[in-house]
Point group: C2
Chain length 467, copies 2
């Protein structure tokens, strides 16, 4: 049985472990297993291809906001070129990773499925391989719910969508989370007839309600959004798909050329048969890890989507570094999830870090929370761009630390970074007031929010009136 | 002679002193003097109106970069509406400030010129007023150089440009600094035939040379840029203006409907006759202040453009707070100019904080400087937007502090903020690596630059080859 210094399952963030180990230990031998295209989900069917597809429509929204001042006519998007660019970039980057995996003689690269057969032992390509350091970064896959008629009528997921050649004329999206909204926003602004059907009372339900509201409002100018509706049946009719949904006050049937199912993701780890390796998973199949990202089996780590914690590539990358340090440097580094930012690249853009208001209130008590708030249109640059949106900063009154921040509007994913870095530094919120911000720039919305603090109740009275 | 607790000259950042004093001391009496519209230069004829005018064309540049993917036709800008919106915003905000100045009975508001007649004594509206706390925030005005024929042919400045009703068909801009480039960029992208004539070998000469180069390259697709050319004569011919410029290899004559003179700014303080108040100015007329922003006359402070240091509203605001604290709280706070950001709102956008490379090398020695570099197109979001530009981070190798940062490209004025805040916190550059950045977002260009450090020589070899 071949013994390795490490077995890495998955070629996304797992590659960070591979790179570090080979750099630090010139004699190390590593087995790398991935049944899919090299590069992991983010590169091959996640954030990178989706951003390459959706980013161009940002400018359509900006133009719409400035239509009084800029005389322009948008005729449509060149879907074929958008998809071609996406595929070229993804394929060329994936090929580069594959090439390095194949060329490097201290790596055995298996482009296959693997299964645990015993603790520390995996079977792959008919061989048994063993290591006392195993890194599971096996990712996740689109969750496809059981809906009557779905399999028969056919559907897209965020994976198969990447193979589309032509833009559908109409698209029904099942789900209202970030993947549904990013693609819904793209297709709607690109000129496709989009209907979004969300089971919960609001889209982007893991964001602050006032953010969901603004996105809903802006997006509903171009897409039909049904909330509190559950898809109960799908049928094929005359080459199209009819989606039947039920709400509290009756049903709605929507017809579309294509259906995109985007209701969440589920773990890939079942394929690995972790139970045969003695590795515990939770009731949904995510691999359980401790604060050091180690599973219940010593030396076996799970990072990225596999552990089901924060399914973002930037989190997985950090987790991979920490797991590596803990595994090979006998470190006891805890993964800190307190300053993890994320964005939803729809228009207006959404970005968020740390706790939501209700989580902060629950953790620290209502009276210990201050909320800072400012609208983007208060800034001179925001006025210039006629930009909508706001920043909401949640502060622990006693420690003076920012515990969460939520931004919606132009450049939100960049605006959130100042707050994230201040949080990561564990610096007080007034560090942001101390730092000079360019006047007039969109950055001012963050510092002005930090200078405009109020109680939770006052905040709600304010947004009730003003938003 | 009326005695005041404070005399404030200028209603821009000076208003910060007025507000704080009246809030902290319910009995204080203040004289406020401004011969111009209330609100200061930034609001009435500087950054706010200019950003309201120029911001909309950003989207034209974005669209141009995405022309392969978005099928759109830009027919032009609605200049009338842009100017009307600008005037409405400026007038309404100025009126609000004026109203509060007039209504508040502890303020005597003089909308007039004033002159020192003795130390601590000013003459205004025929009255003599006196205070031992005087704040000079009298601003600056466009510098108009002596050019043969200029006065006779007529010209615009950044002040009078705000009164334009129609967009000129052609415009010759004398100067290549940030005002010249912001307006040159706007008019060129808006469809006006623009020629920019800069005396120095490059435009934006106070930015890093590689940034000047990229802006020059991008802007020259829409404007004619003459560097190393000196305007020697202007004449009126058939309703138009002919601008004669001389370069090293001969002359060029350019005809335009209008001429905009934007070669710099000069102090307004001469009007105040500071010498009669015993107040020293430098050879160009800027009021000399010490580290505490106090002039040579005890209790007399100069903030904002008046001291000629960093002519930005965000600096003036901070200076006003510090001068106030030093004057009324007997503090000895030094103004810290090490983390002052600024932006040039052209396309690609420019933003910068701290030292330039040559300043850093001179201050710390070439061997003690590391440069971090990354192109925006390396990031997934940058690829999605097909965005040009880069981030350059200058680090002191020994202290591990960022001493300067320079960004050109999409959202530069927001991207610079993370660096600025880290500098203001005096945190090491690796704080930025420690903070998680959203993948993929434009923010990654900053963290990747901080992770991609090289010597000054290697940096130049790299950009020589790659930029």
């Amino acid at each position: 049985m071949q013994e390795y210094d490490a077995i890495v399952i998955g070629t996304g963030s797992g590659m960070i472990v591979v790179d570090r180990l080979l750099r630090e230990n010139p004699d190390a031998r590593v087995a790398v297993i991935d049944r899919d295209m090299a590069g992991g989900i983010c590169l091959t069917r996640g954030c990178i291809p989706s951003k390459l597809i959706i980013s161009p429509v940002e400018v359509i929204y900006d133009l719409e906001n400035l239509s009084e001042f800029i005389d322009a006519e948008v005729k449509g998007v060149n879907f074929e070129k958008i998809m071609k660019r996406m595929r070229n970039k993804v394929e060329s980057e994936s090929r580069m990773i594959e090439k390095s995996l194949k060329e490097f003689d201290r790596i055995d690269y298996f482009r296959s499925s693997a299964e645990f057969t015993a603790p520390y032992v995996l079977e792959v390509d008919g061989k048994h391989i063993r290591s006392e350091r195993i890194f599971i970064s096996s990712g996740s896959r689109p969750l496809v719910p059981r809906i009557d008629g779905l399999e028969d009528s056919g559907y897209l997921t965020s994976d198969s969508l990447l193979h589309l050649e032509d833009m559908p004329e109409s698209l029904v999206i099942v789900g209202g989370g970030y993947i549904a909204i990013e693609y819904g926003n793209f297709f709607a602004r690109a000129g496709c007839d989009v209907t979004i059907i969300e089971m919960l009372p609001r889209i982007l339900s893991s964001e602050e309600p006032e953010i969901s509201r603004l996105v809903h409002q802006e997006l509903s100018e171009h897409a039909d959004i049904l909330t509190s509706h559950r898809v109960v049946r799908i049928e094929k009719k005359g080459g199209k798909k009819v989606v039947h949904a039920m709400g509290d006050n009756g049903g709605r049937s929507v017809t579309g050329e294509e259906v995109l199912v985007a209701v969440g993701r589920e773990p890939n780890s079942d394929i690995l048969r972790p139970e045969k390796g003695g590795i515990e998973t939770d009731e949904r199949g995510w691999i359980k890890v401790n604060r050091y990202l180690e599973t219940n089996v010593r030396g076996v780590y799970a990072v990225g989507d596999a552990n089901g914690k924060h399914m973002f590539r930037h989190v997985a990358n950090r987790e991979a570094v920490i797991a590596y340090m803990n595994a090979f440097h006998d470190a006891k580094i805890e993964m800190d999830y307190s300053a993890i930012p994320h964005a939803v690249f729809c228009q207006p853009e959404v970005a968020s870090v740390g706790l939501r208001e209700n989580e902060a209130v629950e953790k620290y008590g209502r009276e210990n929370i201050l909320i800072g708030f400012e609208e983007i249109k208060s800034t001179g640059k925001g006025q210039g761009l006629n930009a909508k949106g706001f920043a909401k900063i949640i502060i622990n009154r006693e420690t003076e630390r920012i515990v969460g921040a939520h931004v919606v509007g132009k450049a939100a994913s960049v605006l959130i970074q100042e707050v994230t870095t201040v949080m990561a530094l564990n610096a007080p919120f007034h560090s942001i007031l101390h730092a000079i911000h360019i006047h007039p720039s969109l950055s001012e919305v963050i510092s002005w929010a930090c200078g405009n603090l109020m109680s939770v109740d006052d905040y709600h009275r304010k947004i009730e009136k003003e938003l």
